[in-house]
């Protein structure tokens, strides 16, 4: 049914590259309840605590019973397409450049009617649909109606309209910033498996043996490149070579060292950790960010996403990993600024929070630990769904939920 998206042709060096345009960004504060759901891949709608009805668009007061007690809750996503329309000319430059664009009016099973983007082909009036709440290129929540029974984002992977909502690695070129840790190595394999056309595998300290990288050498579509995030020149040199060819950047750099604040080694180790994590992210962002943001509309396979892999301890300090947690809390904060700057070009930023992974420096962490391959698979899945935030594994998910319930309890239970 769907025409497979062909691999991108070589760029025409004589043609001007399009400046990224964005769909309309303005939203009410109440409507950001939808943004919160879309960012993590949940289909939510406003629901009135008074009369129990679902509401759309987002409001301050229930139009049925006038109750002000409205909250965003998970909602059933099924519905029927009442009417579809093919927009040939739009007053919005973003849609003009992508015309024709299809949208449809959907009667949701939960009662509300809403306007949803439609795939380029497929859904006609009367069809059953499964509506997804997703982030568009402006980073705002929109509805996208997929054919009912679609198993997952893969079904729409090649649809040009869905590709605007996702950051699918297929046919894209990916830079993994550090493959000298098991997470980075797993990312390389996962992205190649997901159809990335080329994966640059960043490797620091190439003068140290790395037998674990032997499998990458000479592998098709994989290229080991020298990259040391603690070294400004190394980052800049690589960006000069491949900055304009990096469509997805996966920052796996980390420096896991245990220790409390009073630990005799803590200052030196904290400095090393900050160099690699916080300053490393800044060096990467300064070198690769501007060109990625400029390439957000570079054909069907332009720059699409930036991924940070963060320990869940970025969300709440783990005293045994005091400075490591603090460094990643700073990375998390910085990532929000980076997201804002990348968003000018329609490039997404995904933060993947993960508990202890199966890696040497987490030797002392009790199970369950996350297998690097499982983490990589979930990152790929999140990009296909255009998410901004995922929590991988039981430890990260539990921490997220407990923080939402009572952050003070989380803090105390870490050491008491």
């Amino acid at each position: 049914m769907m025409t497979p998206l062909p691999p991108p042709p070589k760029a025409n060096p004589l043609a001007r590259r399009k400046v990224p345009t964005l769909p309309p960004r303005a939203r009410s504060r109440a409507a950001h309840g939808l943004t919160a759901g879309a960012a993590v891949g949940r289909f939510v709608l406003q629901r009135c605590a008074g009369c129990g009805r679902y509401l759309y668009p987002a409001r301050e007061i229930c139009p049925h019973c006038l109750s002000p007690s409205l909250e965003f809750r998970d909602a059933p996503g099924g519905g029927v397409c009442l009417a579809e329309s093919r927009i040939a000319v739009s007053s919005e430059p973003y849609f003009r450049e992508r015309a024709p664009w299809r949208s449809g009016l959907v009667q949701m099973d939960c009662g509300v009617q809403l306007v949803a983007h439609l795939p380029a082909q497929g859904i006609e009036a009367g069809a059953r649909v499964e509506v997804r709440l997703v982030l568009d290129r402006a980073g705002q929540a929109v509805f996208f109606a997929a054919p009912a029974g679609a198993a997952g984002p893969d079904d729409l992977a090649d649809d040009p309209a869905w590709r605007e909502m996702s950051a699918d690695p297929r046919h894209r070129r990916v830079l993994v910033s550090d493959v000298r840790n098991p997470v980075g190595l797993a990312m390389v394999h996962a992205f190649r498996q997901a159809g990335a056309r080329h994966v640059f595998a960043g490797c620091r300290e190439t003068w140290k043996p790395a037998p674990e990288l032997d499998a990458l050498r000479g592998a098709e579509g994989i290229e080991i490149v020298p990259l040391d995030l603690a070294d400004e020149r190394s980052v800049d040199d690589l960006a000069r070579q491949i900055g304009a060819r990096t469509d997805i950047l996966v920052n796996t750099a980390d420096h896991v060292r245990t220790g409390g604040v009073f630990d005799p080694l803590s200052l030196g180790r904290a400095r090393e950790t900050l160099e690699v994590t916080v300053l490393g992210l800044m060096r990467l962002a300064r070198a690769f960010g501007p060109v990625m943001a400029a390439r957000g509309a570079d054909g069907t396979h332009g720059a699409a996403a930036w991924v940070n892999v963060l320990p869940a301890a970025a969300l709440a300090n783990e005293p045994g990993l005091s400075f490591h947690s603090a460094a990643h809390a700073a990375v998390l904060s910085l990532s929000h600024a980076l997201r804002a700057e990348l968003a000018t070009g329609g490039v997404r930023l995904l933060n993947a929070f993960v508990g202890p992974v199966d890696a040497e420096w987490y030797q002392g962490a009790p199970p369950p630990r996350v297998a690097p391959a499982a983490l990589a698979a979930q990152v790929v899945d999140a990009l296909r769904r255009g998410l901004e935030e995922i929590h991988v594994g039981a430890v990260a998910q539990e921490l997220r939920d407990r923080l939402a319930a009572n952050p003070k309890a989380v803090e105390r239970e870490r050491w008491q």
Binding site: T206, W207, K208, P209, D228, A230, D231, E232, R233, S234, L265, G268, E272
Partner: protein, 276 residues
């Protein structure tokens, strides 16, 4: 005045100007990529060389170019002071800021081990080697540097560090040689082209890291990551080895300059040349 009786220094600078005294730069260029000493990752680490630009005739500083740099004391071509090792910790004047400045200009002898090191990266220089060397060149002069030429400086990256699962495999002196050089020959210090004054496997020697233990325990110095020792004669060179004057410093990168009085048979080489 000098026309009548040229001073020693006057003759020296005249020789340098005329080319009869060659100035050889024994220093590697400091770069972030240059391998550093590898320690088990759970203990304290020496920071590699880093350089970040302050400005380059741009908005950050319109008319000037400069950088902020950082590094561990034992980075690149560097000097070890006695305080570096626990055996030298109680000696007087054992740190960079207190050691006698007179020690920073001294003669050097060069022991050529290049062939043996090419055959065996774990080659160990022994007292017997030195005794044979002395048969040819005379006794090692007191208060002089002994430099072990391995041609290791021609290597770079992984081949220079030469690491495997047992650690680094690089040549160096054995324990007895160093003890003998210090006690029987009263040397000023020992210099190598590899990352340490000790051999790569010296953690397994007795005592561990004997060059560090014996040299620094007796108030002597170390030089490592030297380059171009193959351009020095076996005897007769003079080294200028002034490290940074860091308070209580244990070592520092430095520019090592050798003065070599050329014989007629030697090819005059370019004195301005840079790195290997």
């Amino acid at each position: 005045m000098s026309a009548v009786a040229p001073s020693t220094l006057g003759a020296l600078v005249a020789g340098i100007a005329a080319g009869s005294v060659r100035v050889v730069d024994l220093t590697h260029t400091l770069t972030p990529e240059f391998p550093t000493i590898v320690m088990p990752p759970e203990i304290g680490q020496s920071a590699p060389f880093r350089m970040e630009e302050i400005s380059r005739y741009d908005a950050k500083g319109p008319s000037w170019y400069w950088n902020n740099i950082s590094f561990g004391e034992h980075t690149g071509t560097h000097f070890d002071a006695p305080i570096h090792w626990q055996s030298g910790r109680d000696l007087p004047n054992n740190a960079l800021d207190t050691l006698p400045a007179g020690d920073l200009v001294a003669p050097a002898v060069v022991v050529d081990c290049a062939e043996a090191c090419a055959r065996d990266p774990d080659f160990l220089l022994t007292r017997d080697h030195l005794l044979r060397w002395e048969e040819q060149h005379g006794p090692v002069p007191a208060r002089s540097w002994v430099l072990m030429r391995s041609d290791w400086y021609r290597r770079s990256g992984a081949a220079f560090a030469n690491l495997d699962n047992e650690g680094p495999h690089t040549p160096g002196p054995d324990a007895e040689l160093i003890r003998w050089l210090v006690t029987e020959r009263d040397i000023l210090g020992f210099g190598t082209e590899t990352i340490g004054t000790d051999a790569g496997q010296a953690a397994h020697f007795s005592p561990p890291f004997p060059a560090h233990f014996h040299l620094h325990g007796a108030g002597r110095y170390g030089l490592q990551c030297l380059a171009r020792l193959d351009e020095l004669p076996p005897t007769g060179a003079v080294l200028l080895t002034a490290p940074l004057k860091i308070r209580n410093g244990s070592g520092s990168p430095l520019r090592v300059i050798a003065l070599v009085e050329d014989t007629a048979t030697r090819n005059p080489t370019d004195e301005r040349h840079g790195d290997a």
